[in-house]
Symmetry: C2
Subunit: 294 residues, 2 copies
Amino acid sequence: MEIVNRIPRMQAISRRLRKEGKKIGFVPTMGALHEGHLSLISRARTMSDVVVVSIFVNPIQFGKGEDFDKYPRDLAKDAELVTDRGVDYLFAPNRDEVYPKDYSTYVLVEDLSDKLCGLSRPGHFRGVTTVVMKLLNIVRPNFCFFGQKDGQQAVIIKRMIRDLCVDTEMVVCPIVRDSDGLALSSRNIYLNKEERSAATVLFRALNKGKQLFEEGETEAARIIAAMQQVIEAEPLARIDYVALVDPETLEDVYVLEEDRKVMAAVAVYIGSTRLIDNMIFGEKPTFTYSEEDL
Amino acid sequence: MEIVNRIPRMQAISRRLRKEGKKIGFVPTMGALHEGHLSLISRARTMSDVVVVSIFVNPIQFGKGEDFDKYPRDLAKDAELVTDRGVDYLFAPNRDEVYPKDYSTYVLVEDLSDKLCGLSRPGHFRGVTTVVMKLLNIVRPNFCFFGQKDGQQAVIIKRMIRDLCVDTEMVVCPIVRDSDGLALSSRNIYLNKEERSAATVLFRALNKGKQLFEEGETEAARIIAAMQQVIEAEPLARIDYVALVDPETLEDVYVLEEDRKVMAAVAVYIGSTRLIDNMIFGEKPTFTYSEEDL
């Protein structure tokens, strides 16, 4: 595995690989890798000749007062973690090269970026789509891999790729959960012991909603209320949002129908840590359980 | 020459050409082709194995009340004009395929897009950068060719390509002028006989500015005033702007220095037709004269 820091070097590698007809699989990350990321890498491995993982804590997707400064960074540990996982290139560009002083170009997916997390994190998805477009241009992958855990992000990037005719195939992989149901996230390390225990409330709320859906409840408001009740019963939790939305348009769904998939999405503060999770009602489980502790 | 209408067909062609190691040269246009466009095609011909010309009147770069509806469209005539000019593919996608109903992704180069033409045409450059990014993703050219006539556009696209690490080399070609100095533009056909004659005032004003610059005038305000005077002496002309700016940042230049290039840029209404032109002071002529009437 080669660690690549410079953008032109990464571009040269991609150009050569494409020329040789190699299929490139790309997993963009912000580092602090966990088993969720490893599941993306495994999937990339099965589909591609060469796997590129990027690690870049993207400043422009963090808002003021968010956790950019304290976001976990440990390239050596991440590099060790992915060794022997079939990663060929670990691309870790530095901030000044990604965003030079007079940087001024932004990619925005309108409407979708203003919903759900976009409401409490203005500018967040603009930062995400900008850096992803840039990384895709540098790595030029045949396939790119994202996690369903960041459900809205997946919808937005899918739209961007379609709208701008980006020549890559996007693969969205299932959420990986700890044995108690907590979705794996780099931010879980912020949680103390009590908070870690309380954090299962997101999964519990989603399951409550799913249960009502499967029992035939058709009024979204009732399902949402029941999910909120689950979260409100947890003293360390504070709701940011609980929503039932269309999985493509992210528009609120008011009446559930039998043949129509619905994405239940929640964002909850556990102490000062903001966690998100989601579940698609009306399809087979969109998550797997973690197989090991890392 | 093959006329390609569908985006997936163009993508398939590009993918095959890249695989074969062919160098693709790309000239994006809005049609109504004139000798300025042909100069871009000639240049593309000398640098590439395969030349792709796109024709697409991009609705999102026109503002309300602008000339989108009456913008000249004649694909058959354009196709005839480029026959035997070494164009391999004429890519003319339709509006609904470029912008499907739920289209929502936009590329914006901040700051640069708000200056000069951006002031009187808000949203214009966002429309330009969005469609150019999309076309570049579809055609995936090794080289892309733009005219210096749209000087600000060239600066903005250059910045976008750099910022987003688009894997293409941009070539900016000199302005082509009629024998009386009027820069060729698809919009010149809007001019009646008197207006056509008055329209030389843009070139005359630029030459006036250049003369003062070469005589050693260092105060931008004086040069601008002299250029304005030239335009104001023309009854059919109404100034939108006259500016001296840095050719990279488009920031106003106040004091001219010997070794520093300055872009003089003008936008003038001739009757109801808005024309633009520019000249770089401090370098050899950035334009050529038309060799034939088309």
